[in-house]
Amino acid sequence: MVHKSFLDRIALFGRSGLDIIESMGRSLIFLWHVLIGRGGAGTGLHLLVKQLYSVGVLSLAIIIVSGLFIGMVLALQGYSILVDFGSEQAVGQMVALTLLRELGPVVTALLFAGRAGSALTAEIGNMKSTEQLSSLEMIGVDPLKYIIAPRLWAGFISMPLLAAIFSVVGIWGGAMVAVDWLGVYEGSYWGNMINSVDFYDDVLNGVIKSVVFAFVVTWVAVYQGYDCEPTSEGISRATTRTVVYASLAVLGLDFILTALMFGDF
């Protein structure tokens, strides 16, 4: 009896491992179909514009407001730390480097996962549970091409742009606090920043990061929606999974990317 349950446990363990591997494989095949199976232009551009609106434009408000506040907080904190060393004029450099290298791409990706990713999952999941996806297939329209691909591309395109807007607004908010409020000399705020920020090392690496995050977050979101259990409970679980998996993937990848880009091996 004990022996059997032990075997059962091993079998169960193996099955859950196989399930995880299978789901990873399915998501990769899914991505392959969406990206490669995009033959024929058709009405693709029109669909993409619509998705860019709901994924990108509607996320602008939260990105701008959080960018502004994060920039202002960075300037405040940086000032209160740096003023002890008498180098408060380096606050511009600190704000810019922090935003461009880390907070811009990462916070944008986290907000994007919460704001746009969960909406994507819920929308696609609802389409699946009301059998809109299978009706599309029935009338000979590929749902991967018509529903999924525009959403995936909209995510890829809009997130790097959102991250850039986030950084610019944050740097401007930092300038507002540091220069106008705390009285750091304006010339040294911008001058130190320009001297220490390198286009290739800092700006471009930040853009690369946000492209990678955009890829991961949107992929997780549309896959979870497409693969969810077609019940209301299944949709709610898939939406939760989107936010959790996407956030964890972003934070984990951020460490790896930072180590590759800025860690001197």
Partner: protein
Amino acid sequence: MRIRAVEISVGVFLLAGILALLLLALRVSGLTVANSTDTYKLIAHFDNIAGLTTRAKVTMAGVAVGKVVAIDFDTETYTGRVTMEVQSRVNNLPTDTTASILTAGLLGEKYISFSVGGEDDVLKDGDVIYDTQSSLVLEELIGKFLMNSVNQD
């Protein structure tokens, strides 16, 4: 009309994103469009480069005229070899120009400063500056000062 509004707002969003990238490139990182071909390389050996890093400024009379592109250790002379790129419009540096490593402020970053010599020949691409002045190491300075005050007693 509704679709037109959506399209216009998407266009504005794309423009804003590209504008933000441009701002980051030009205003924040100070990227200049000038190509890097109009520079020439100079090499200098220093006994101690402590704290100098690549991308550090090379200045003359306080004006930035180039940057440090490589730092390595010369195994033959046991010195630090610093390779610099100098703008080619500064093409009249005499061969006995002095290169010194200085510090911006008391704790600031290190940079290289050229002071002009008196020779008629000028430095060309790949030439070596022999007259160098090493980085000031605060600990050594304090050590010397303490030794002096002990000796005086």
